[in-house]
């Protein structure tokens, strides 16, 4: 466990304290214990790592490895049993419900396997949702949501409802929704799990571009090596512990699939 972190520290070559302001995510000895009746389940058993600003990190592991629990903690959807979590300079591991909601709104953008778009709302309205909860007024909200849809190549589909869109298009809208609140980190939980290979590549291409060209930190949970290959670093979980932390050369999309180009069809 500790060796994995140390290994990465060695790799980047300087001690934790001096570079902490360059870290987007700092997790130290994070534990999460669930009580199921009398049985205690250690879903997360002391996990520590840092993610630098602008990194593209994939978290891998079989089901039950604790990667979803870790994702929930990173996503401020849950609080750890013990340990600390610093997100973009703020200690969020001890926040209450209201403060966690504020942290989610201000710093995080979520992308889910099942897209989770509101079925009766247009794409634009779906993308506006995070802005509504931040109290952004009508015209500004509209402008930002439309711009976010343009970035993911869905400019022509702003008035479509989810059931009028393909899975890949829905996931693009979901990415636009994650972007619209101007987040520091994009958290993607199996974002291509429901998509075919070609569409998966398109979605990964968008995430990779956002990471490379906008400097967005992206944290991706997946169990597919093909998908993890787009990341610059892979954390591997097993039995509630971090067992692997490898830097890699990210795979670049070979097809020339432009975001705007796909949307234009």
């Amino acid at each position: 466990m500790a060796s994995a972190v140390n290994r990465w520290h060695d790799a980047i070559g300087y001690p934790l304290q001096t570079i902490s302001e360059n870290f987007m995510i700092t997790v130290t000895d994070l534990k999460k214990t669930y009580h199921m009746g009398d049985i205690e389940v250690n879903a997360l058993n002391g996990v520590s790592f840092e993610i630098k600003k602008g990194e593209f990190v994939a978290i891998m592991g079989p089901s039950g490895s604790g990667k979803s629990t870790l994702m929930n903690l990173i996503g401020c959807l849950d609080t750890p049993t013990s340990g600390t979590y610093v997100l973009d300079g703020d200690m969020v591991s001890q926040l209450d419900d209201v403060e966690l909601a504020a942290a989610r709104a201000a710093k995080l953008g979520f992308i889910f396997q099942q897209y989770n778009l509101l079925p009766r709302q247009t794409a634009l309205r779906n993308v506006e949702l995070p802005l509504i909860y931040r109290g952004i007024s009508g015209a500004e909200r509209h402008r930002r949501a439309a711009a976010a849809l343009e970035i993911v190549g869905m400019k022509e589909r702003t008035d479509h409802k989810p059931n009028e869109l393909s899975g890949g298009q829905q996931q693009r809208v979901a990415i636009a929704r994650a972007l619209s609140g101007s987040p520091s980190v994009i958290l993607a939980d199996e974002p291509t799990g429901a998509l075919d290979t070609k569409t998966s590549a398109e979605i990964m291409d968008i995430l990779q571009r956002l990471n490379r060209e906008q400097g967005l930190t992206v944290v991706l949970v997946t169990h597919e090596y093909d998908v993890a290959a787009y990341a610059g670093r892979v954390l591997t979980m097993r039995d509630g512990e971090l067992v692997g932390d490898e830097k890699q050369t990210p795979r670049m999309t070979t097809q020339v699939v432009t975001m705007a180009g796909v949307a234009g069809k």
Partner: protein, 443 residues
């Protein structure tokens, strides 16, 4: 950064540089959801399930409509009764022989112990009255040239007319001279004149009563039913004439003229009780009753007391009906709670998502509470419209004038909102407490 943006979007569109600038510009928000957004989301959600929303509202619609309509009908009935009683006259007291208050069978309707002398003694008291009039009542058949009619004969004095707010359709009421002399003249109620003479001129004609001729000197304007036999079916003549022409005008001992009743109008409403007391004392004294609390052998009815009793009864009846209608409002509220609980379950994923993108528990609570209140308030307003329609239909049908009061409107709508809040709070709390992780995983 600008060059990077150009790379990102440059291949497809020309305006791309600005879109990334817009999205990644710092956000300045108020930090809380605006009310208009909450309301919009609530109505979106209700409109998405139109039939279900309408069926849910139906309980509140029916509840509010019945409260509004029943209160309007109750008020209308009460006003109609009051105005009919007030059309008899104002501040009236009626003195009748015997005890009328003891219920059917026990009273001595045929009591004949109220005499013209009693009337004169009351006049001699010089009470603060607008007027006082004795009534000697009997029945008879008026015969005219073309028709005859069974009527109620009222022998009285000229002061009877202003006491009962009579208005003349033609001619005049008899005067003091005619009353004192017992002149053979008669004033006809509207129906009597119409039945005897049709649309022709009645005043100046002669009718016969027990073979004796009576000159018609006046016809009253129609007053409509008063609940005690309409004056429209009466014939009025000097009391002295009636006493001389009818055999049954004597008291039991045969020494005095009997009267069927004495009507008097008190000048000021606050004097009614005092006047009633003094007359009661006078009559007990005159009738030789002990002051030990034995029963009166006469009855004094006060119009004011009668009215207030009547208003109490109609008020109680209205309140009772409104309460029954209120129960249907309550049932409607339970319907709202039920459907809101279903809605919370159905939208578990949506709630999870909203929380994930930054909604606080408070935002979710407010969202579902506003939806519940929107249901009940919309139902309340529709019910109000329905209640108005029912009241208007009843008024148009002519049965009575049902007027919807501001009080019943605010009561019904206010109650509807309270029902929404009360029955909406539990489902809303359930929604607000949902854990976003569990909610997002919910299938």
């Amino acid at each position: 950064m600008a060059t990077n943006i150009a790379t990102l979007e440059g291949r497809g569109t020309t305006k791309s540089a600005s879109s990334a600038d817009i999205v990644f510009a710092p956000l300045q928000g108020s930090g809380s959801v605006s009310w208009s957004e909450i309301a919009r989301t609530a109505f979106d959600s209700l409109l998405a399930n139109r039939v279900r929303s309408f069926l849910t509202m139906l309980g509140v619609i029916i509840g509010v409509a019945s409260v509004v309509a029943l209160m309007a009908l109750g008020d209308g009935a009460s006003q109609s009764i009051t105005s009919q009683i007030q059309s008899i006259g104002t501040n009236l007291l009626f003195i009748a022989p015997g005890q009328l208050n003891r219920g059917p069978g026990s009273g001595n309707i045929a009591a004949q112990n109220l005499s013209l002398d009693d009337y004169e003694a009351i006049v001699a008291l010089k009470l603060p009255l607008n007027g006082v009039a004795p009534v000697a009542q009997t029945g008879g058949t008026l015969v005219a040239a073309a028709a005859d009619k069974q009527v109620s004969i009222v022998g009285t004095t000229p002061s009877y007319a202003p006491l009962h707010s009579f208005e003349m359709a033609a001619g005049t009421f008899f005067d003091e001279v005619q009353a004192r002399d017992g002149t053979a003249v008669v004033v006809l109620g509207a129906n009597v004149a119409k039945d005897l003479f049709g649309s022709g001129q009645a005043v100046g004609q002669t009718v016969r009563l027990n073979g004796q001729p009576l000159r018609v000197i006046g016809v009253l304007k129609a007053k409509g039913g008063g609940g005690f036999g309409s004056v429209d079916d009466n014939a009025f003549m000097p009391i002295k004439y009636a006493q001389q022409r009818f055999a049954n005008m004597r008291t039991a001992d045969g020494n005095k003229y009997r009267v069927s009743s004495i009507t008097l109008s008190v000048t000021n409403a606050q004097d009614i009780e005092g006047v009633q007391g003094r007359i009661s004392a006078l009559l007990r004294d005159r009738h030789g009753l002990d002051s030990d609390g034995s029963e009166d052998d006469f009855t004094i009815l006060s119009q004011a007391a009668f009215l207030s009793t009547l208003n109490t009864i109609t008020g109680l009846l209205t309140a009772f009906l409104a309460a029954v209608a209120g129960i249907s409002l309550l049932v409607g509220g339970i319907g709202i709670m039920n459907i809101m609980l279903v809605s919370v379950t159905e939208r578990t994923r949506e709630i999870g998502l909203r929380k994930a993108v930054g909604a606080r528990s408070r935002d979710i609570l407010l969202q579902f509470l506003v939806e519940a209140v929107a249901l009940s308030l919309t139902g309340g307003l529709l019910g109000l419209a329905l209640g108005f329609m029912v009241a208007t239909l009843v008024t148009l049908s002519g049965v009575l004038t049902a007027s919807v009061s501001l009080f019943s409107v605010s009561l019904a709508v206010g109650f509807a909102v309270i029902v929404g809040l009360f029955f909406g709070i539990y489902p809303a709390q359930r929604a607000a407490k949902l854990n976003p992780i569990d909610a997002l995983r919910y299938e």
